[in-house]
Amino acid sequence: MSDQIALQVHNITKRFPGVLANDSVDFTLKKGEIHALLGENGAGKSTLMNVIYGLYTPDEGEILLNTNHGTNGLQRVNIETPHDAIRYGIGMVHQHFMLVPVFTVAENMILGDEVTRGPSLDLRTARRQIRQLSEDYGLEVDPNAVVEDLSVGVQQRVEILKALYREARILVLDEPTAVLTPQEVEDLFKVMHQLTDRGVSIIFITHKLKEVLAIADEITVMRRGKVVGNTTPSDTDEHGLAAMMVGRDVILWIDKEPAHPADVVLSVKNLNVKDDRDVLTVRDLSFEVKAGEILGIAGVQGNGQTELVEALTGLREIEGGSIYLNDQELPAVNPRALVEMGVAHIPEDRHKHGLVLPYTISDNTVLNTYYQPPFAKGLQRDQKAVLENSEKLIQQFDVRTPSALLPTSNLSGGNQQKVIVARELGRPISLLIANQPTRGLDVGSIEYIHSQIVHRRDKGIAVLLVSAELDEILSLSDRISVMYHGEMVATVDAEDASREELGLWMAGSHEDEDHDAEKENQIPVEQS
């Protein structure tokens, strides 16, 4: 890191109809530093980056760039298209990868900046250049591989290489860790350091406080379109950052009374479930959840959690084993019966399975009860009862909306999730199954939803929490199980759990070696 400035934005303002997305933002990036840009969803981070990358034109303000490597001369530049940004050495790794899945790595790399010989593409030279580049930066990747066959972590590496191929000196990483496993995050951090060692400057956009403190040299916090502060990891901590982000004190680690577990509510015995591709992804799983406790299931995404939750909520057929709710065996694949038996479900993907987005908030609050009185009278709906109920829930669960009759798609992610929570928790239940209940939400909404979950536990409801976020698991659970390749590899009391140990279990390494060696070689394929 040096004191040379790589990029400076000055007084940037960007308005959208009805929103001031960036309000006179100033931001300075030094050469070779990792500069974290922190803020909640909708704080204006992405808008600012899109301005720098030429996807938006700012209404006011200017961008200054250090265009020659030697002197410290900053020059005002006009970046109107991504092409301009690339020309000025700015590369961006988007949160949703900008890779063509059916193309090879090499084809993706050269797209828009093709190497040609005569009229033909020169893929041989391109591959050689890519191999050279990956050697230079220590980013191993096979130029012939088809992108859709690669893991998410490797795809991200391709994205970074794609920027480097275009000789990027400034790299914008937009929420790069959102899709990665803890191990992949560590790898990414190593790569980031390798890049800064070679003089690349990095803007790291995130809302994860721990990561910022772990890797950033400099931190800029945004809130509601404005820069609210600059700091460094040594001058602050998680609480300080969270307070800056949200604008008030935030409870990151929920303060909860010890649990008082009572009768067993959910009992799962030798459960086997297959996924859509007919692969057994839940294998011989047995566990219990008692009234008044939270069982957290930790695990990297894709280790059978989705199928487990779908089986428990009646959305997927089971291959073997049994599920008992309050000593009653669950009927097969009948979600409505489960709802009536008092099971609440906060699904993993709120857009796909949680809400009908074009429907009003009011209609979404009765998706599972619309056919019952008081919401239905015979074959007719009672609109008034539905509306009254939803207005009550909106109040009770703090959904921020001007009206219950707006389409749910108009709400922010946090408020959409609150609508689901309101629907599921706003009626008498005995079991709550929450799958990734706070994914993609801002700190304020997370805090609220966490407090609601703990509140239900204290009222004697059994809670099964599934999450890939270790922080969430550690903060809420009374007991923690780790799922790996469809099996429960460990179950511990939350008090005895350490982050490191859970991380190891999640990655599939156990302590007892003999058993272990066998597991390592086992590939998750179908057993019949």
């Binding site: 991504p82 900008m98 040609t116 096979d142 012939n144």
Partner: protein
């Protein structure tokens, strides 16, 4: 060491994948070859005539399929091929009647197709109208215009005649089938290879496919999505126009109402069976062409005593069998038919 191993694995994987992809064609090709040899031994004259007819009947289908596929490769579904062909056939015919110049006439046909392509691009790329509706508009427009302005009794001033390519045309069987054809049929065969080369081996092709698979990704590296789509759809329209010109100026020599007779839609089936590739579409079109030629031969050869309605089924029956049995899993471009909106 590991890099080498993975590179090697992916290479063999690639070869295997390519092999299985072409397996269908290898089997078909061998079967066809054997059939042709047997046919040639039994009756050389009829076999040559049937094959030559197959090549010519496949011409409008390949052109239509290439119109469809370069549009869809860039992300625009074109179901207006039928209309583009029909209006181009009509305008080409009229220009021939007025000027008597076949070159002008063919150019007018191509231009008509391209203009309708521009109309489709405007509707689907700029106005973001549902592309199925945009295509239907073109079909209805062409049917209406040609029907309204059609005047019976217009006589053509000649049509494109076969050109024998010297000694090549003298080769037994192959000569009369491949080297004694009228110009548009030759042009089509050349175009198949040109489009294949452009689509898979040039910068333009890479960008076209990127825009049809993941337009935003292309946009972020500076590829102009709208421009790519416009140009591809317009060039595609030109292909459909050439197919229309083929019908009036090379095959029939006059215009009749709705004379495209569904070829624009069959071309779409050809495109899908050909898995959105020019060479695949060519193979598929030849198969359709062969089925039609065999059907005609059976009907008019008078050697079999089956009601002609049943023989007429042949090409369609073949379509069903082929699509159901050998089609395999074809995957359209991911952004096919999805208008692109900049953020």
């Amino acid at each position: 060491m590991t890099t080498m191993a993975t590179a090697h694995d992916s290479l063999t994987g690639e070869i295997l994948r390519k092999f299985s992809r072409w397996m269908v064609w290898i089997v078909f090709g061998l079967a066809a070859l054997i059939a042709v040899i047997v046919g040639y031994i039994i009756d050389p004259r009829v076999t040559a005539a049937v094959l030559a007819s197959a090549v010519r009947q496949s011409t409008p289908l390949v052109l239509g399929a290439m119109c469809g596929l370069i549009g869809e490769r860039s992300g625009v579904i074109n179901i207006g091929i039928e209309g583009q062909m029909l209006l181009a056939a009509f305008i080409g015919f009229l220009v021939n009647v007025w000027t008597g110049n076949l070159l002008f006439a063919v150019s007018a046909g191509v231009l008509t197709g391209a203009l309708l392509g521009a109309l489709l691009a405007f509707m689907s790329v700029t106005l973001m109208i549902d592309q199925i509706i945009g295509g239907s508009v073109i079909n209805i427009l062409a049917l209406g215009l040609t029907g309204y302005f059609y005047t019976a009794g217009l006589t053509t001033k000649g049509k494109l005649a076969p050109i024998a390519l010297g000694p090549l045309a003298k080769i037994p069987l192959v000569g009369p089938v491949l080297f004694d054809n009228p110009p548009i049929t030759y042009a089509t065969i050349i175009l198949v290879f040109v489009v294949h080369y452009v689509l898979f081996h040039t910068k333009w092709g890479l960008r076209t496919r990127a825009v049809g698979e993941h337009p935003r990704a292309a946009d972020t590296v500076g590829v102009n999505v709208y421009f790519m789509r416009y140009v591809n759809v317009i060039i595609g329209g030109g292909f459909a126009g050439l197919a229309g010109a083929f019908l009036t100026l090379e095959a029939v020599g006059s215009f009749e109402r709705a004379m495209t007779n569904g070829r624009g839609f069959v071309a779409l089936a050809v495109m899908i069976f050909g898995k959105w590739t020019p060479l695949g579409s060519w193979g598929a079109a030849l198969l359709f062409g062969l089925a039609s030629a065999v059907q005609t031969q059976l009907q008019f050869g008078g050697k079999v005593d089956i009601p002609h309605q049943f023989i007429g089924i042949l090409p369609y029956l073949l379509t069903i069998v082929v699509l159901a049995g050998f089609g395999g899993r074809a995957r359209p471009p991911a952004a096919d038919g999805v208008p692109y909106k900049k953020e």
